[in-house]
Amino acid sequence: MPEIKVTPLGAGQDVGRSCILVSFGGKNIMLDCGMHMGFNDDRRFPDFSYITQNGRLTDHFHLDHCGALPYMSEMVGYDGPIYMTHPTKAICPILLEDFRKITVDKKGETNFFTSQMIKDCMKKVVPLNLHQTVQVDDELEIKAYYAGHVLGAAMVQLKVGSESVVYTGDYNMTPDRHLGAAWIDKCRPDILISESTYATTIRDSKRCRERDFLKKVHETVERGGKVLIPVFALGRAQELCILLETFWERMNLKAPIYFSTGLTEKANHYYKLFITWTNQKIRKTFVQRNMFEFKHIKPFDRSYADNPGPMVVFATPGMLHAGQSLQIFKKWAGHEKNMVIMPGYCVQGTIGHKILNGQRKLELEGRSTLEVKLQVEYMSFSAHADAKGIMQLIRMAEPRNVLLVHGEAAKMEFLKGKIEQEFSINCFMPANGETATVTTNPSVPVDISLNLLKREMSLGGTLPDPKKPRTMHGTLIMKENSLRLVSPEQALKELGLSEHQLRFTCRVQLQDPHSDADTLRRIYTHLKSVLKGYTTQHLPDSMSVMVESIVVKVSSSAEDPNTKVLLLSWSYQDEDLGSFLSTLLKKGLPSGLC
């Protein structure tokens, strides 16, 4: 049986360093090539030790999906094509370069890729459009679907023959202020590899969260307080910016909004460019005004933090563990009029995590403590699909099997149960390095010769009924990767073989007091009355009866003249009729026969 094998090298029951190896139909494909943010040694990259592959895909620009790309292509030495969507290809190198700078220049690591390597790696990238089918080679084709999540995020469908695999990457089923919802057609893949970050959560209405967020910001600003929103440079930052920008515009608010400079500014350029990847509203209105050209949001300068009066600041990084956001936080933490809004996930150990857990006194390096008086709010603006969204995608695609990656094991287990219960399909959740195998039942296309088909039709009479399978005789020729079904004669001719006749013979003993000739006549009349649709011939010369091509001969046995021995002989093709005749004759002749 053909099989599809899926081996996560990263992200198996784990979040980070996404890297999944899929092999089916004789192809090996690597999906994503990410790195782990939590580790600083070799563990941050997936284990590439056993890879021979045909192509690889990166679905979006987050480092946990593309961070190890130059490492693999340049340092490990992969030399095949790499596929990315256009926005990903544009933004990815910026992030990689930034990442490289931090690790090499600041931390002084040596065994790391260089900027030249990033450039070389990007040269191997083949860009991909939405819903465009790209032939990687003769058999493997890939197709990208819109995934929401971040700009340029895509789901990919891999297809070899009739077998197919869909890898979702990270996706979002709830549209937000700048991106649409993920969408896929009913492609019925053999395996759907889905992320499961929020396997146990069903979020309530997003509108409600947005309203809360705006209300909190608005209230704080009206009170004259300052709002700090720690964000990562790309993704949520843009969504929240648009949200605040439109709100400010609608409400005619005057308080300044600042955005920390650097990476974000560069990335905003790309957001302006790739309008087709955004949601309906932005796509429709960009002719009048590009939503990413912010009117109220200005670049931040370090000195602004001490300005009096209300303001809103977006600062990186998102977990308050270092950099600008931490500096601002330290300045503003002491005043209860201020507020910090954490829009996303915080890793354990960061200040963000601590204050979210309600810690009010923080120890900083240098033994000083910081009293946290400002309000701390958590708002989940994460762009991953929730459990409902995952179920919705499964319903949309109708896969035969589901495979969960990119999530915590315990939560996956829960979702797995739900999926199996609701859809009654198999669900897998392999750990890193573990292989999940799915056997498939692909339909094999076969060419059938027209003559054979016509002959079969004349035999079968009516048109074929798609619901009932029908058997037919023919010869299957497998030659040079092609399958053909032809009539036996043609096959013989083509292969240059001579035909072998196969005949069955059978003796039936019969008690009949008549002479041989009479018995033969009696058999003839009997058979003629029973087999009405067939041609039955009486050949008294050769003491035989012919039914179609079946020969029945009569001879009396030597000892007892009353015991007649019938000799039946038929060819392989007439097997059905022959065996019927033999059973018929074994029952003897009816007595009323004249």
Binding site: D204, S205, R211, S380, K388, A410, G417, E422
Partner: protein, 878 residues
């Protein structure tokens, strides 16, 4: 006589019904049997086998049967019918019955019973069909016997229904056909059957939607069909295609009989416990223990998986269908969101508890990124607001939208606040504060805010009462300074308080003296805001001064004054002038009557003008001496003509009576014109006559045959005398009369900054106007050099915020050759009327002919104040 006949008919009928055919004595048959039937009887008895009988019957059918013997023949036939076993013979007999009953002079009602009887016992389908046919013939032979017909129709219905099962199963066999067109046709056929009132089997329903099994699989639970389909359709709201989603949302809105469990489930993405049945009490207890199996993601770190529920739990609704409206409202496509909002509105109107629940979601939609969606959700909230009382926090969110910079949104919200009920006095105060803030921020909203406060006050008098001292800043001991009456905010507060006071008499005791004075002032200046009636010292106070306080009495008063005017008859101009003034004034006080009063006033003014023109002595003077008078009369005639066009087209709701009156006065004006012209230039007049007001002369010629014979000079004389003798037509008021009005909101005309543009190019001027009771207005741009352009706005530029009201938001394109200084262009709205030539559009035709500035463009009536805009075309740079 007729009654007698009728009685006889009934008697006969009842007799027939009561005699069952079996009891008909054979003897009677013989008695009434003439020769022909006897022959037939003998023939049939002779017939040994069925073919013979059939043969006889066929022969018999060829002969004519006379009316008196028909009954006997029928008896014999029926007798044979009951005896006969062969289907074909029975069939023939029945068809013969049908034929016979067509015989003239024979009343077939005696066969009805037999035929119906036969129908119940008959087995053969062919004979049944023939019986039906025969009954049809009989029924059509008895057009006046309603009872029999009714009975026949009932029979037919029953017969059809008893067989309908077969039809259904035949059709349902094709649901599984491999050809999609066949399946579609089968389902359509089923739908048609259903629309004819046939109940479709539940088994077939299952077959139609194989994935839907109404009894829940793996359990004995059942749900109502409508609930089940509701669940199914909820599912579709997460479909891949947005068109399906729009349709699904709309369909959900149309299913009003759904039980409230299912309705509420649409607002929660997690499966609620109501729609989940547990097998044992143990499990139910467990469910209480871990009620939310999915976390909401709203709190930090609450997403640890909780204990799993028993998988045996049965869901009454597929979990995918949960939160259909949550999905619909946050859909990517705004079409879906709008459809979802509309569906919410429909469902909420039929279910108050659902209205309560969906409130939060609707309020959330106020934050939508697309303005249409925001607007729609505000409208929807207004529609359902009679079902709900806003809590303080909800009101807070609603009021936050008052700061929206879009005027549409704010106005919609004001409308909404007009209809909302709030629960506490804090809410009223909050609303007032926010509205005042709004007033401060957007002073143009003045009228809308005042109107909003008017309703807020009259809806919550008891909640306003405790706030009064604070609102009016009165003090128990000290006199407080009198607030400024020009302050819109103070007026707003007063509007709120006075409207509350109309239904809360105790309130007026809290007022200080100046408040009463202010009331009198407001009552006069902003009467539409204080239209409440009765109650309290305040109202009485003013009533004495301003006259009738209520709509009805004002109506009566208006009619009275009209009557008085009618009795005056001509000549007493000063008296009518007073009355006229009064009528107009009345209109200002009573908005509901403004249209009518204005109409009357205009009409009266026309009459006055006409009288003035006719009463003068000038008619007796020699022509050269009265040039001045003549000019006056000409002007009057022209003015009357203009006014009559206004009367006819500016007011909507005119009845044909009024139109005729208006036409009459126009006719008079035309006549006046004709006479004047004739007098002024006697020589030139005659050749011009054919061109001059053809229609009028034509009409006159038709009306007065005598005129056609006489000469033109005579004609003029006759006209002159008839005109002078003519009296005023009394005017009756129509029920609903509205005057078309328009106000240009934008541009305001106050800006000193000229709109600069390069010569030869085009500049777009944004126009924002409110129109009331108008069909198709046009905009006119008048340049300082006298050029005028008429521009017809696109239909898409009109929005409809309320009945009879339109909002025009359009762009007017201006262009001109270079000027040295900025200059004003005038923009105003015109009303085109249909009796004239098609109105001109675009520039091309109106620029070349330079009409004089104040002459109205043919066929249009200016009906808004003109707004001046400063523009400055600069010479193009080379």
């Amino acid at each position: 006589m007729a009654a007698h006949l009728k009685k006889r008919v009934y008697e006969e009928f009842s007799k027939v019904v009561q005699i069952p055919p079996e009891e008909v004595p054979v003897k009677k048959l013989r008695l009434s049997k003439p020769s022909k039937s006897a022959a037939l009887h003998i023939d049939l008895c002779k017939a040994s086998c069925s073919t013979d009988a059939l043969q006889y019957l066929l022969q018999f059918a060829r002969k004519a049967v006379e009316a008196e013997s028909v009954e006997g023949v029928i008896r014999i036939l029926l007798e044979h019918y009951y005896k006969e076993t062969d289907n074909s013979v029975r069939l023939k007999i029945v068809s013969l019955l049908g034929l016979l009953s067509k015989t003239k002079g024979f009343s077939p009602d005696c066969i009805v019973d037999d035929a119906i009887n036969a129908l119940t016992t008959e087995k053969s389908h062919q004979v049944l069909a023939q019986l039906m046919d025969t009954l049809l013939v009989i029924g059509s032979q008895l057009p006046d016997n309603l009872l029999v017909r009714q009975r026949l129709i009932d029979m037919a219905c029953k017969a059809r229904l008893s067989r309908s099962r077969d039809v259904q199963s035949v059709i349902s066999d094709y649901f599984g056909d491999q050809e999609p067109r066949v399946r579609t046709a089968a389902i359509k056929a089923m739908l048609q059957l259903h629309e004819r009132g046939m109940n479709i089997n539940q088994i077939i329903y299952d077959q139609l939607y194989p994935e839907s099994i109404v009894p829940i699989p793996s359990s004995n639970e059942e749900v109502r069909l409508v609930d089940d389909s509701f669940g199914k359709i909820s599912h579709m709201i997460s479909d891949g295609s947005w068109m399906v989603r729009v349709q699904a949302a709309k369909t959900l809105g149309s299913m009003l009989q759904v039980s409230h469990y299912f309705l509420e489930q649409t607002l929660d993405k997690k499966l609620m416990s109501d729609l989940r049945r547990k097998r044992t009490a143990h499990e139910r207890a467990k469910e209480l223990y871990a009620s939310g199996e999915f976390s909401s993601g709203r709190k930090w770190a609450d997403d640890a998986p909780k204990e799993r529920l028993d998988t045996n739990a049965v869901n009454l609704i597929a979990s995918g269908a949960c939160g259909a409206f949550v999905h619909g409202l946050e859909d990517e496509m705004y079409e879906v969101r709008i459809a979802a909002v509309e569906a919410l509105s429909l469902l909420a109107q039929s279910s108050p508890s659902f209205a309560e629940k969906c409130l939060d979601f609707l309020v959330d939609m106020f934050n939508d990124e697309i303005e249409e969606v925001r607007l729609q959700s505000i409208h929807v909230l207004r529609e359902i607001s009679k079902n709900i009382i806003l809590r303080e926090d909800q009101l807070d969110t609603v009021l936050a939208v008052l700061e929206d910079s879009s005027r549409d949104i704010r106005e919609a919200l004001h409308e909404l606040l007009c209809y909302t009920n709030v629960s506490t006095k804090e809410c009223v105060q909050l609303a007032l504060l926010e509205l005042l803030k709004n007033l401060n921020k957007y002073p143009t909203d003045r009228n809308s805010v005042w109107k909003c406060l008017k309703f807020l006050g009259s809806r919550h008098p008891t909640l306003v009462l405790p706030l009064v001292p604070e609102l009016l800043s009165t003090h128990p001991y000290f006199d407080t300074p009198e607030p400024d009456m020009d302050d819109p905010a103070y007026i707003a507060v007063l509007v709120l308080v006075f409207n509350a006071a109309t239904s809360c008499p105790t309130m007026s005791s809290l007022f200080s003296d100046h408040t009463f004075r202010h009331y009198a002032y407001l009552r006069d200046s902003l009467s539409h805001l204080l239209a409440g009636r009765g109650g309290g010292r305040v109202v009485e106070l003013v009533d004495s001064a301003a006259g009738p306080g209520s709509v009805e009495s004002a109506q009566v008063f208006l009619q009275d004054s009209l009557n008085r005017v009618n009795t005056i008859h001509s000549l007493e101009a000063p008296g009518s002038q007073d009355l006229l003034d009064f009528t107009i004034r009345l209109g200002e006080l009573q908005t509901e009557l403004a249209g009518a009063a204005d109409f009357c006033a205009t009409y009266l003014r026309c009459q006055l003008l006409l009288m003035k023109a006719l009463q003068e002595r000038l008619w007796n003077m020699a022509v050269p001496l009265c040039l001045k008078q003549n000019a006056m009369a000409t002007a009057a005639a022209r003015q009357i003509l203009e006014e009559t066009y206004k009367l006819e087209f500016v007011y909507s709701g005119l009845e044909s009576r009024q139109v005729a009156t208006v036409h009459h006065i126009r006719l008079q004006a035309r006549a006046l014109q004709l006479v004047l012209t004739a007098r002024a230039r006697k020589g030139q007049f005659l050749p011009e006559l054919p061109h001059f007001q053809e229609t009028f002369v034509g009409k006159l010629l038709e009306l007065i045959p005598r005129l056609s014979s006489c000469k033109t000079v005579e004609l003029i004389k006759i006209l002159q005398s008839t005109l002078r003798q003519s009296s005023m037509l009394p005017l009756t008021l129509p029920q609903q009369l509205h005057r078309a009005t328009a106000t240009i909101i934008e541009p305001t005309g106050e800006s000193d900054h000229p709109l600069k543009f390069t010569t030869g190019l085009v500049v777009a001027l944004d126009i924002d106007a409110t129109l009331e009771h108008v069909q198709d207005p046009q905009t006119r741009v008048l340049y300082p050099d006298g050029q005028a352009h008429v521009i017809t706005p696109k239909p898409g530029d009109f929005r409809k915020p309320g009945p009879g009201r339109h909002r025009l938001i359009t762009q007017v394109y201006l262009s001109h050759s270079a000027w040295t200084d900025p200059g004003h262009v005038e923009v105003r709205l015109l009303l085109a009327y249909s009796s004239s030539t098609p109105s001109k559009t675009g520039w091309a035709d109106s620029t070349d002919s330079l009409p004089p500035p104040e002459a109205a463009i043919e066929g249009t009536i200016p009906f808004s104040k003109s707004v001046k805009v400063l523009i400055m075309p600069k010479p193009a740079r080379r």
